[in-house]
């Protein structure tokens, strides 16, 4: 127990670090500046700013804003990215509540009751309860991460290559089962991502693979490049299809009366608690994350409610529960990343990309070698949530005004911003072209109902999976049964197989689809 306090103390120490700033114009007087808190604050603000733009989801926001963290030291960069992530999520909920345009699947549920509340002039309480629920969930999740981090790391250190490989297979299967749409297509997207990750030079032999002697491909496809193409550019192109302005119903009336009533609070407290518990659990599971958590929390609320018919007509619990679950899951999904080095979803995959750019290989070693980084990030999560609560509520008016910016002006700005961002990663014009190509690929994928998120996950896990597979087989001298004879690995594989069978079984498929369809009607 003492361990946890020491660790959290270390984390908060990092977050509240002051740097003495001695500007020349003040004549030698130095001012202490809480750099990391400022970075977290800026991240949360910028994240909300971009996340609030209609049609831009969390993944696209994080991908787009990645480059602005490149110039920072690793700890600061990751703290800022975490801030961006929470900001983007909160921004997404704001858009869903106010204009009924969820930026991504996770906030679809929030739009159901949130927009109905906004229509009845209760946008303020809806936004407030979303922030309060998120903050509470964030507090719980932070403690949970601190509690589980160290023991999970110890388990992770006992993992051999075979176990790692099996765990990644399990994670990918989870991602498939919990994703929306066809299981088959999701698996195909993962494999396509794995295949794309093979481009470049082989880790062991150094042989150039599928690079066609193009020097820019020799190092492999850039992760940030791919993400910005698939999510940034593809989203823009798709939104242009939709006709931009025509389907944007804006809430014209002023958002007034922010504070929820005492009755609201009393009603939502159990909902927030349930959402937090559900979200925390689903977030830890590999492949889980924010999307499924909010769907599940909404469904649960509807099940336990005395009068479920109120849901979908502006029921405040229908906003509180999924928002809490969403945030809890967003945070606990850092656990597999920080302890095992395995990103459980596409946003965490982006985090891995960012860490790699800073020369950090996520995994159990980071926990031991760079505790300041890990615990600083965990502490910054709590601070980030607090920032969202105290900054965003007063700023709701500004976000609303931002929503009125017409898409015809917004989309060229995003194109330019993305271009500069991609270019600045390596100072390579080719990267910009590759991202453009993947923008078209992403557009095509959307048109054919393929989800790009599993592709991204496959792309990040590809090198890790190959390495561990190779090592496992080398140690077992080419014996493939090693994955089934080592007990831990066998258990993981068995769970993966069972999940896959369950997902394909018609009865469960129907149930799973119900959860998603329900939210769409």
């Amino acid at each position: 127990m003492g361990d946890i306090f020491t660790n959290l103390g270390l984390g908060f120490g990092v977050v509240f670090q002051f740097v003495q700033w001695t500007p020349a114009f003040l004549g030698g007087i130095s001012i202490p500046i809480p750099v990391n808190i400022l970075l977290c604050l800026i991240g949360a603000l910028v994240g909300t700013l971009v996340g609030v733009l209609p049609g831009i989801g969390t993944i696209a926001t994080v991908a787009m804003l990645l480059p602005i963290t490149f110039g920072l030291p690793p700890v600061g960069a990751l703290i800022m990215l975490a801030g961006i992530y929470y900001g983007a999520q909160y921004g997404g909920s704001t858009t869903s509540i106010l204009v009924n345009i969820p930026g991504e699947a996770g906030s679809v549920v929030t739009a159901l009751d949130g927009f109905q509340m906004a229509k009845r002039g209760r946008a303020g309480p809806a936004l407030a309860i979303a922030a309060i629920g998120s903050f509470f969930a964030g507090c719980v999740a932070t403690v949970l991460i601190a509690l589980l981090g160290a023991p999970l790391t110890r388990i992770a250190l006992a993992f051999g290559p075979a176990e790692y490989f099996s765990l990644m297979v399990l994670g990918l299967i989870f991602a498939v089962v919990l994703a929306k749409g066809s299981v088959l297509k999701a698996i195909a997207m993962i494999v396509l991502g794995l295949l794309l990750s093979m481009v470049g030079s082989d880790i062991e032999t150094g042989a150039s693979r599928m690079a066609f002697n193009i020097p820019e491909l020799a190092d492999g496809l850039g992760f940030a490049t791919l993400a910005m193409g698939l999510f940034g550019f593809a989203e823009i192109i798709r939104n242009l299809d939709a006709g931009g302005e025509t389907d944007r119903k804006l809430v014209q009336e002023k958002v007034s009366g922010l504070m929820p009533t005492r009755r609201d609070l009393k009603e939502t407290t159990p909902a927030i608690l349930r959402g937090t518990v559900l979200g925390s659990i689903l977030g830890i599971l590999p492949g889980g994350g924010a999307v499924i958590a909010s769907f599940a929390a909404y469904t649960l609320e509807k099940k336990v409610a005395k009068d479920p018919s109120k849901f979908g007509h502006g029921e405040i619990r229908g906003v509180a529960a999924p928002e809490s679950a969403n945030n809890a899951a967003a945070q606990t999904s850092f656990i597999p990343l920080l302890t095992l080095g395995i990103p459980p979803n596409a946003v965490m995959a982006l985090m891995v990309g960012a860490m790699t750019i800073h020369g950090i290989v996520p995994g159990p070693q980071v926990m031991q070698k760079q505790p300041d980084l890990v615990w600083g990030m965990i502490a910054s999560m709590w601070v980030g949530n607090l920032m969202l609560l105290i900054i965003n509520l007063p700023l709701v008016g500004i976000w609303v005004r931002l929503l009125r910016v017409p898409y015809r002006l917004m989309f060229p700005s995003i194109v330019v911003f993305c271009c500069i961002g991609i270019y600045s990663v390596n100072n390579a014009p080719t990267d910009v072209m590759i991202a453009g190509a993947f923008g078209l690929v992403g557009y095509w994928l959307i048109k054919h109902d393929f989800e790009p998120a599993p592709l991204l996950l496959g792309m990040v896990l590809g090198p890790l999976m190959e390495e561990n597979l190779r090592r496992a087989l080398l140690i077992s001298r080419g014996d493939w049964s090693v994955f089934l004879t080592r007990p831990l690995s066998a258990v993981l594989m068995a769970i993966a197989a069972a999940l896959l069978i369950l997902a394909v079984l018609p009865s469960l498929r129907k149930k799973r689809d119900e959860v998603f369809v329900e939210s769409e009607n």
Binding site: G71, L184, M198, L240, Y407, V415, F417, C419, L440, L469
Partner: protein, 166 residues
Amino acid sequence: MNATPGHAPVKSIMPNWVRNPQEFVGGIALMAIAVFALWASSDLQGMRGFSFGAGTAPRMFGFLLLGLGALITVVGVVTEGPHLAKYHWRGPFFVTIAILTFAFTIRPMGMIFAAMAAFLIAACGSPETRWKETLIVAVCLTTFCSLLFPYALGLPLQLLPTFLIR
């Protein structure tokens, strides 16, 4: 993987036995990518005894994708499904041109020119664009980016055309 098809052939008249064109075309495209990847990695070394060669993993995933693509194609034949979604050319075309323009001009012309050009070309992608406000926003955004990236973020970006600097 530049050969990844950006657009699969969009035919309004699919053969009658294709009941789910979206999946059918998607599956075939995936198979094409898989075949391409298998061809591209055919020169790599395979298994050496029980240790992996450079080409083992790409081939493994290539065959896996080929199989999955085939399965999706079959699903496209045996199940009922939506028709191919309509493609619009204007948005994708101008956004792509804008991106390419940026890529080709950033080195010789610097960021100010590249950003302005990309903004204005991308703006052609929407029929709702009004030129006066677009120009104003373009200038503001370029100014903002010219301050943000090289100065606030300290990234090494060249602002002015090369011929002006020399």
